[in-house]
């Protein structure tokens, strides 16, 4: 990729700095950054990657223009550390289901963490863990949220490009179904009676699971109204009834569909709680 033909300077006078922080997470979203491949080189030219321990041992102090945060808040230390990260960040973007929604580890929110500690660890007194896993937005102001488990690298690049251009980033909140149909995938609900969450799940993944004949498990969260986003929460009630009455899922299976990667987000959480009462 050559920039020889570049005739206009980049709008910003200096290369904006980028930092990537990790909280409770699997590192998959950070790997999505490294998986940008060719675009990673362009990203490195455009942005000054100042702090990204997963990628480089060169770590410079903030403040930073753009901070990407992976992971959820699960310990008292992390609840404290995120405040400091926010102070270092001009723009803070959460990347992935953990940072944006609490992640799969938010299943602890329905359980007794003290019991887990006693069962799992020989010396549980050394474990300092919160009883909940919560999204970054529960602790500090978040400027933009990227959904997904992991995030879609195209969406990440798009949001960074928009920020560099001084444009408010905007990502579609359509259902996964639109992308399935655009790609010519056969609907797994209608043709195979699989309990697919695609109709109520936000697009962004490229409809990967239905494209492989599998049912979407909602890793990009609800289509609309996820946190404070615009729109109305999706009609999870109607889809849950369809799962139960037509696809023969028993209530506990309906709970498990909604209480997954994004189980603690708005409409998914409420729907799982409704069916929890029926188990």
């Amino acid at each position: 990729m050559s920039n020889k033909n570049r005739v206009c300077p980049i709008v910003t006078p200096v290369r904006p700095t980028l930092a990537v922080y990790k909280f409770a997470s699997c590192d998959g979203c950070q790997l999505s950054i490294l998986n940008l491949e060719d675009d990673l080189l362009a990203l490195g030219e455009t942005l000054d990657i100042a702090y990204f321990p997963e990628a480089s041992s060169e770590m410079r102090d903030g403040p930073y223009d753009i901070v990407l945060v992976e992971g959820s808040i699960t310990t008292p230390d992390d609840a404290h550390r995120i405040l400091a990260v926010r102070q270092q960040a001009k723009t803070l973007i959460t990347i992935g289901a953990c940072a944006t929604a609490g992640g799969i580890q938010a299943l602890r929110n329905w359980s007794d963490v003290e019991t887990f500690k006693q069962v799992v660890y020989p010396s549980p007194q050394y474990i300092h863990s919160l009883s909940t896993s919560t999204p970054i937005s529960d602790h500090v102001r978040v400027d933009f949220e990227l959904w997904g488990c992991p995030i879609d690298k195209g969406q990440l690049l798009r949001v960074l490009t928009d920020l560099l251009a001084g444009v408010q980033p905007r990502l579609p909140a359509d259902s996964v179904c639109l992308e399935c149909k655009r790609r010519g995938h056969v609907c797994v609900v209608v043709a195979k009676s699989l309990p697919c969450l695609g109709p109520v799940t936000r697009t962004g993944c490229g409809a990967i699971c239905p494209g492989m004949g599998r049912d979407c498990y909602g890793c990009f969260g609800p289509t609309e109204g996820g946190h404070e986003g615009p729109g109305v929460p999706p009609n999870t009630g109607s889809l849950a009834r369809q799962f139960n009455e037509e696809l023969n899922l028993i209530p506990v299976e309906v709970v498990r569909r909604f209480r997954g990667i994004n189980g603690s987000v708005g409409s998914f959480e409420r729907e799982s709680d409704v069916w929890d009462k029926k188990t």
Partner: protein, 375 residues
């Protein structure tokens, strides 16, 4: 049909139709079995087609089953209409590049490709004619649509079996196609009754081994098509449209259907006539170049109703009402015909099986809650 001369093509000669189309420069596309349904794909031989299969369609449910017979077109249709051939689900419209003086745009109009579609159904041929009215209207022809549309050669198959979700007879679009095709076939046990519907169709037909269709064969074809029409279990009474649906704007049935509707947009994606699209800008990271892309959109999305800082269709009720009212009522004012061709796809491919042939009559019944409405 009196205006077409009918011929009889034997079943073994069907391969010849594919071969002649291919040697005439067409990529031949037909229904093939994939992932539990039929989808359009390139075919080389008759054996690629779903011989001996049929589809069972119900609200929210699609199944294929084997019949053991040798019907080539036993499957009525899959989720795709003819729409993707002319109105691409996602296509580049322009590339934009910075120059010394500003920027330069380069349209990316596709090369016209000769594509012959085997097994287009009469409802889909009718749907394509409606899309033509939208995209090729007067001086405002869409060059992207036009380029794709011009290369299409349609081999329609008149329907001799109705699905439980079919209601083309009540919409006047089938089960026999009356125009808009290049060749039309009726499948009989002994072969196909074939008519040409265009000069391109005549040319292909002239190259096929065929004999004049006997009166018996023509009668058999006609009677199969007629009984297909009679066997349709669903119908749409459109006699009071568009006005009756405008009058039903405040009907309580909209709340009822909104409680079931997922606003997922599947109905609009599978609809042969829905034409809504969004336009996206995809700039490179260095902001020297951008691609301007058009993609299928739906009136069920949040963004579709967003105008000037306000969403004019915030709720699912608003969106379903918008879709059905446009499809069945305001479409008539806008384009001179209904936007529905009776293919039934929106019924089958709705994940919760919402059926517009049930919703419309319910909406046209007096609403106990609305005392102002004259009935």
């Amino acid at each position: 049909m009196a205006e077409h001369t009918s011929h009889l093509l034997s079943k073994p000669s069907f391969q010849q139709l594919i071969d002649v189309l291919r040697s005439s420069g067409y990529r031949v596309v037909g229904p093939i079995v994939r992932d539990g349904a039929v989808v359009w794909d390139t075919v080389q031989q008759t054996g690629d087609l779903p011989i001996g299969w049929r589809d069972i369609q119900e609200p929210g449910r699609y199944r294929l089953e084997q019949t053991g017979d040798d019907r080539i077109f036993g499957v009525v249709h899959g989720p795709q209409s003819l729409k993707p051939f002319s109105f691409a689900p996602r296509e580049s419209l322009l590339t934009i590049e910075r120059t010394q003086n500003g920027f330069a745009t380069t349209p990316t109009i596709p090369q016209s490709e000769k594509v012959a579609v085997l097994g287009a159904r009469p409802c889909d041929v009718a749907g394509l004619a409606i899309q033509d009215r939208v995209f090729l209207r007067d001086a405002y022809a869409d060059p992207y649509y036009q380029a794709r549309r011009e290369g299409l050669f349609l081999v329609t198959v008149h329907c001799t079996r109705a699905l439980s979700t079919c209601f083309c007879a009540s919409m006047g679009t089938g089960p026999r196609a009356t125009s808009g095709f290049d060749l039309a076939l009726t499948e009989l046990p002994e072969g196909f009754v074939v008519e040409a519907g265009s000069s391109a169709g005549e040319d292909i037909l002239a190259k096929l081994e065929r004999r004049p269709a006997t009166k018996e064969a023509i009668n058999a074809a006609n009677s199969r098509i007629a009984s297909c029409a009679k066997s349709q279990m669903r119908a749409l009474d459109t006699s009071h449209l568009p006005q009756a649906l405008y009058d039903a704007h405040e009907h309580q049935r909209w709340d009822d259907v909104a409680a079931r509707c997922l606003a997922c947009g599947n109905c609009t994606m599978v609809c042969p006539t829905c034409f809504c699209h969004a336009v996206e800008e995809t700039p490179d990271l260095d902001r020297q170049r951008s691609e301007h892309t058009r993609l299928w959109d739906s009136c069920f999305t949040q963004e579709h109703g967003y105008i000037h800082g306000k969403n004019v269709r915030p709720t699912i009720k608003d969106r379903y009402r918008m879709w059905l009212s446009h499809k069945l009522a305001s479409w008539i004012d806008q384009f001179g015909s209904s936007g529905c061709v009776g293919c039934g796809r929106c019924i089958t491919w709705c994940p919760v099986g919402i059926d517009l042939t049930e919703e419309l009559p319910a909406l046209l019944k007096p609403d106990a809650r609305n005392t102002n409405r004259q009935t």
